[in-house]
């Protein structure tokens, strides 16, 4: 059954409708072209002699039909001459079977050859196409193989390399020919690595980032990570290893360089730090003297000065105290960047209370109304940094309020949607900021209104830097003239 359908498939090269048309055409052509010939010879066109033509055209197409017709005519003509009767009459009536059989066989063979040709042609076309695709694909992979920056190789369990790409040649310093000659064991600084490699790949079928120290031709060691898979033969025995090598020597060198540079930077920073502390110490030593004598002059000898002298002394003292604050703020600011952050569960309410206590003098001087609204949710932060943040925010809220206004400060907080962060707000009724001033407000040593309000301009930058170091964010909503609400968002307490 299968064989028959295969045979049919081999015959049916062209669609059925085309065969029918060809057969009809062959019939018409045969009858039209050869009827006069037969008539000349004194016989009509035999229906029998048409059949082979139609059948062959049906089976093998136009060429088959035409050839049958062309062959039948001379044969018939010859038979007419020889025996005085045309083809089929001879076949049927007078024993001319061999000639007619020959006609059929020739027609069949020609038809078969034609089909075979068509099929072969198709086959060769497909084959050529497949070969081209294969070659193209191989070219592509070859390019990948050759241009890879990581060495790629194929080796055999007996220690011979079958393939090695350019990167491998560059890594090891051997030429390709030399590589294909040598025993790979000689590439290992420790030959037992090769055994371990083989054992592992035998067990798992692959190795990933297997660390080895490879020897280059001039005896240098390259720290490498080898990843490879085993290709197995028909009996499941390993016939090849396909591997890539990642040379990490440079990574390591880079890492060491980065470490060295970091160390140098850290040294430079700590040198700068101790320098800034010793400078600040010396600055303060002189400031303490100047302000000490100044304050003595003020408290004990002021009456010896006239009004102008008193004014001058006041200015000197004010400038001295500003400078002292500036030195301290400068140190605080640089300290925030380097402080070791130790996050812990904190009650911000407690820290706010401490800040309010620390600002007691300022609060009383201004008659300020400072209150916490509700409970502040616990959060995750470093105690020292958060305390400094809250004190700065509160101090700011008190400071930037016009002289004639009573400062009103409200502190509130809530856990943000999602539960992962806590937002704390400090609202004041101070001078506020317009949108353009906001970025400047957080910049170190920027003072928006130096004449109206005292300060060094470091407070908000300390806040911002501290909050950033705590993994949070800070911002402000403000209406100029009406007040500001500074907010910080910090990680909430996770887990129970």
């Amino acid at each position: 059954m299968e064989r028959r359908s295969a045979f049919r498939a081999s015959l049916v090269v062209e669609p059925l409708w085309r065969r029918l048309v060809l057969a009809a055409l062959a019939l018409v052509a045969y009858a039209g072209a050869f009827a006069p010939l037969y008539q000349q010879a004194g016989v009509g066109v035999s229906a029998l002699s048409i059949f082979p033509v139609v059948i062959l055209a049906w089976l093998f197409g136009a060429w088959g039909g035409l050839l049958a017709g062309v062959l039948i005519v001379p044969i018939n003509a010859l038979l007419l001459q020889m025996v005085g009767a045309p083809g089929w009459i001879v076949v049927l009536g007078e024993g001319g079977g061999e000639g007619s059989a020959l006609v059929l066989v020739v027609g069949c063979v020609i038809g078969l050859l034609r089909d075979l040709g068509v099929r072969l042609d198709r086959h060769f076309t497909d084959w050529r196409r497949a070969e081209l695709a294969l070659r193209e694909s191989e070219d592509r992979f070859r390019i990948l193989f050759e241009r890879s920056r990581d060495p790629i190789y194929i080796s055999r369990p007996d220690g011979r390399l079958v393939e090695a790409n350019e990167a491998m040649v560059r890594l090891l310093g051997y030429s390709t020919a030399e590589l294909l000659e040598l025993d790979v064991v000689t590439l290992y600084e420790d030959p037992s690595d090769r055994q371990r490699f083989a054992a592992e790949i035998e067990r798992r079928g692959y190795v990933e980032e297997f660390p080895v120290r490879l020897l280059t031709r001039d005896g240098n060691v390259r720290e490498s990570l080898v990843s490879a898979t085993a290709r197995r033969g028909p009996d499941n025995e390993i016939i090849e290893y396909h591997g890539t090598i990642h040379d990490v020597s440079d990574d390591r060198a880079l890492h060491e360089l980065a470490e060295r540079r970091t160390k140098e930077l850290q040294d430079a920073v700590s040198e700068l730090e101790s320098f800034s502390y010793s400078v600040s110490h010396d600055l303060r030593t002189h400031l303490v003297t100047m302000l000490g004598f100044g304050s003595l002059l003020w408290s004990e000898h002021r009456e010896a000065l006239d009004e102008k002298g008193e004014d001058f002394l006041r200015r000197i003292l004010a400038a001295g105290h500003r400078m002292d604050r500036f030195v301290r703020d400068l140190l605080n600011f640089s300290m925030v960047s380097r402080a070791v952050v130790r996050p812990q569960r904190l009650d911000p309410g407690e820290l706010v209370a401490e800040a309010i206590e620390a600002l007691d003098v300022q609060i009383r001087e201004r008659g300020a109304d400072v209150a916490v609204e509700g409970n502040l949710p616990h959060l995750q932060a470093d105690r020292t940094l958060l305390a400094r943040v809250l004190e700065n925010l509160l101090s700011n809220a008190l400071k930037f309020v016009p002289e004639e206004r009573t400062p009103t400060v409200r502190i509130r907080g809530h856990v943000e949607p999602g539960g992962r962060t806590v937002r704390i707000e400090v609202e004041d009724n101070g001078v506020g900021l317009d949108a353009a001033e906001v970025p400047r407000a957080f910049r170190a040593f920027e003072r928006l209104d130096p004449t109206a309000f005292p300060g060094t301009g470091v407070g908000l930058s300390i806040v911002q830097r501290s909050v950033e170091r705590l993994g949070g964010s800070v911002g402000v909503q403000s209406r100029p003239g009406k007040g500001s609400t500074f907010w910080i968002v910090l990680p909430a307490v996770q887990g129970p």
Partner: protein, 143 residues
């Protein structure tokens, strides 16, 4: 103990600061007996009773040491280190009063046995308050 009986050894190299601290001490507690030495080495001599401090009637042993940190010859940390090595001085309270505002200095001084650490304020009245607090906390309770 009456304040006149309290002897304070002030270790301070800056004469201006010595002047202020004495003044502040006078303001805070008028009868304090403040003895001054200008560096750590002399502080050690004083505590040891070495020359020229052999005479304890003239140079009584202090109830409290107020110590600056940055000084010539032997600095405040050197003094703290030396005191820590003297078993007989384990009860002597030492308080650091310095121009430094470096938290690392504070941590180091406290770890070396200082009882407290104060940055010098730029105001005599504040200084007086600090000295009074120091004497109150570290002398009265210890006597």
């Amino acid at each position: 103990m009456a304040p006149r009986d309290v002897v304070i050894l002030l270790v301070e190299d800056n004469p201006d600061h010595t002047f202020f601290i004495r003044l502040a001490a006078e303001r805070a507690l008028p009868d304090l007996d403040v003895r001054g030495v200008p560096d750590g080495r002399q502080c050690v001599s004083y505590l040891q009773g070495g020359a020229p401090f052999e005479d304890r009637d003239e140079h009584p042993f202090p109830h409290l040491v107020i110590l600056d940190l940055v000084m010539p010859h032997l600095d405040g940390f050197g003094v703290l280190d030396w005191i820590a090595g003297q078993p007989g001085l384990a009860d002597l309270p030492v308080v650091v009063l310095t121009s430094s505002v470096n938290p690392a200095d504070e941590a180091r001084a406290l770890s070396m046995g200082a009882r407290a650490f104060h940055s010098k304020p730029a105001d005599v009245l504040e200084l007086a308050a600090i000295v009074a607090a120091i004497v109150e906390r570290h002398v009265s309770s210890n006597q």
